[in-house]
């Protein structure tokens, strides 16, 4: 004896909302209880899926006197009882019904999953922007960087003010090469005939020092401090990071694909005035101090030079300060960094600084 289940019976003469009945399978027959006393052979019953949500199970058959009838289980318990007690002839059709109502849920789960993963993707791009920039910058090969640097230098060379030889260039390279010993970049050092106090680094190891900077520094150690800072922009690819932020991803993609020429001109104009974020400047300061110590150069030069600049700043505009603000906190941070280093006597750099300065001043007279 199979268990009975509650159901709603629909038919022509029955209420439109269905008549509540109790039904059960007896052998190969479906018996509907109550006052109706209906019976149907399982072979004559069709399984239909209906209802607003297309998840209601209907057993349909044609009765001799009442015409077409439909029976739907009242709730989920009744539905489970019905499916569990149905004769074997209905099993395949019932399985099809269960599968089709489950398919629908799958579609919405899939859609929800897609929407959720898209949201996660957008969120991670927003939150992990710095990491993505780091990754993109790391993907740029060194050769591309070198090409960028070369084309920048070519633009500068056209101005006719770039010095590749002479005592000043020798002095800069001797300090610079000490700072960059063991680097993966092949550095090129140059002096630009420009009276403003500035220095900058193009990607790929091209470092340019303005003549004005050489004249403004009192000792070679002070210049070494500035160089150590600039070198870190190259080593940590800060120029590329700043490019990603200011020029956008489209330009970055062309660089990744190797098309350097398109942006070389823009970079040549920009490189001297590139503004790095405060984080990048701080990184360059601390890493620069470490580089000075590694090279055995007295690190105090970095602090004293910026101190001097800060004192002069109110009277004269200094290009170096526009991109490297000599704020009190920055100088304090550098001095604190120096304090934290183990006390050590560094031999002074064996460069006749007065002669170097004289050589660039001489050029000043030669070039009107």
């Amino acid at each position: 004896m199979n268990p009975s289940f509650a159901a709603l019976l629909y038919g022509r003469d029955l209420p439109p909302a269905g008549l509540k009945v109790s039904a059960q399978f007896v052998g190969n027959r479906l018996q509907v209880g109550g006052d109706l006393r209906l019976e149907a052979v399982a072979d004559a019953i069709t399984i239909e899926t209906g209802g607003f949500d297309h998840d209601t199970l209907y057993l349909g058959w044609t009765d001799a006197t009442r015409g077409r009838l439909s029976l739907a289980p009242l709730d989920t318990v009744a539905r489970a009882t019905l499916i569990g007690s149905a004769p074997a002839t209905l099993e395949a059709a019932l399985r099809r019904h269960v599968r089709s109502s489950r398919n629908d849920r799958g579609k919405w789960l899939l859609l929800g999953g897609l929407a959720a993963s898209l949201a996660v993707l957008v969120l991670s791009v927003v939150l992990g922007y710095g990491l993505i920039v780091d990754w993109a910058v790391r993907m740029v090969p060194t050769e591309v960087e070198a090409k960028l640097g070369q084309s920048t230098m070519a633009e500068l060379r056209q101005s006719g003010k770039l010095l590749d030889t002479g005592p000043a260039v020798d002095a800069v390279s001797s300090i610079g090469n000490r700072l960059t010993a063991g680097s993966r970049y092949h550095y090129h050092w140059a002096v630009l005939e420009d009276p403003s106090i500035n220095a900058f680094a193009a990607p790929g190891g091209y470092v340019v020092v303005h003549r004005g900077l050489i004249l403004a520094t009192k000792t070679p150690e002070e210049l070494a401090g500035v160089l150590a800072h600039e070198v870190q922009h190259v080593e940590h690819r800060h120029t590329l990071k700043a490019m990603v932020n200011s020029l956008g991803w489209a330009t970055m993609a062309t660089v990744l694909l190797g098309d350097v020429s398109a942006m070389a001109g823009m970079l040549a104009y920009q490189v001297g005035t590139t503004h790095y974020s405060r984080d990048l400047e701080t990184e360059a300061d601390t890493q620069g101090l470490a580089a000075l110590v590694r090279a055995g150069i007295a690190p105090e030069g970095m602090a004293t030079f910026f101190r001097t600049l800060a004192r002069q700043a109110p009277q004269m505009p200094i290009a170096l300060l526009s991109s490297h603000p000599a704020t009190e906190e920055r100088i304090a941070a550098i001095e604190a960094g120096i304090q934290a280093l183990p006390a050590k006597d560094y031999p002074p750099l064996a460069i006749d600084w007065a002669a170097v300065q004289a050589s660039v001043r001489k050029n000043d007279d030669a070039v009107p």
Binding site: G11, P16, A17, G18, D53, G60
Partner: protein, 269 residues
């Protein structure tokens, strides 16, 4: 559920209103703004949610209200309570041309699914919820969108739709093809699907769109003769052609198109 049995009378033919007679202490609920007139000593109050009084927690009432909002109703419900010792009246007017149908939810199995925004008023205890269309194609092409209203309870609900309204009972195995947008309400036992118009010629020139709504029994459905979309399309068309200036604009556009074509042919490649 505490349903308040109410007496009502529907007035008017095309622009209707329903007058509800409330016994002492009885309540009716409606959409804010639907009230037309109300007797003395009927207290009018507004609540967030559906006014069923079942939710005491503010947040769950707000959640219910938001669900109502999505189903095309207001966040708030107006409640009319008769505080007098004898019967009092309150009347609700339809927001547009069309008809008001009273539907007894008890006779519909306690649940009814209606077009968005179709609920006008009802006995206290009629809950307005959200019926989410789970079938993509029906939601996209069925003419009613993905969201419909689900009315639950066992009192009378007044449903409004434009045009003439007709009630139809579908017996098991019977199905009806309906122009999309003409469906106003259906019992939850009715299968709602869409059917491709069949022939490309019918789809393009039959004026019914690519799909029909297919409704299969058992259950009762309510249909409207004039969906607002169709009415506004007709009125817009009239406004464009009946206005002589509108015709001149079309004429100028046609000339412009011809001139542009001629110019583009003659221009040297």
């Amino acid at each position: 559920m505490n349903m308040d049995p109410i007496e009502y009378r529907i007035h008017g033919s095309d622009l209707q209103y329903v007058e509800v007679r409330l016994g002492p202490g009885r309540c009716a609920v409606s959409e804010p703004g639907a009230m037309m007139y109300v007797d003395d000593e009927v207290q009018v109050s507004t609540e967030i949610g559906d006014g069923s009084g079942r939710e005491t927690n503010f947040l769950s009432r707000l959640w219910r209200g938001l669900r109502r909002k999505f189903s095309g109703e207001s966040l708030f419900t107006s409640i009319y309570r008769n505080q007098a010792g004898s019967d009092r009246r309150v009347a609700f007017a339809a927001p547009g041309p069309g008809q008001i149908v009273p539907i007894d939810l008890a006779a519909s199995g306690g649940t009814l699914i209606v077009q968005r925004g179709a609920f006008l008023a009802g006995a206290r205890g009629v809950e307005v919820g959200l019926a989410w269309q789970k079938r993509f194609r029906v939601g996209l092409f069925g003419g009613e969108g993905f969201i419909m209203q689900k009315l639950t309870g066992d009192g009378v609900a007044f449903v409004h739709a434009s045009g003439a309204l007709t009630e139809m009972q579908l017996v098991p195995g019977q199905s009806l093809r309906v122009d999309t947008g003409c469906l106003v309400a259906l019992q939850s036992s009715v299968r709602y699907d869409i059917k491709y118009a069949g022939k490309i010629k019918t789809a393009l020139f039959g004026g019914e769109g690519l799909f029909f709504a297919q409704l299969s029994g058992p259950g009762t459905i309510w249909l409207q003769s004039m969906p607002l979309k169709r009415l506004s399309r007709t009125l817009l068309g009239m406004a464009m052609t009946a206005n002589p200036r509108g015709r001149i604009v079309w004429f100028l556009i046609a000339i412009a198109i011809v001139v542009i074509n001629i110019l583009s042919i003659n221009s040297p490649v």
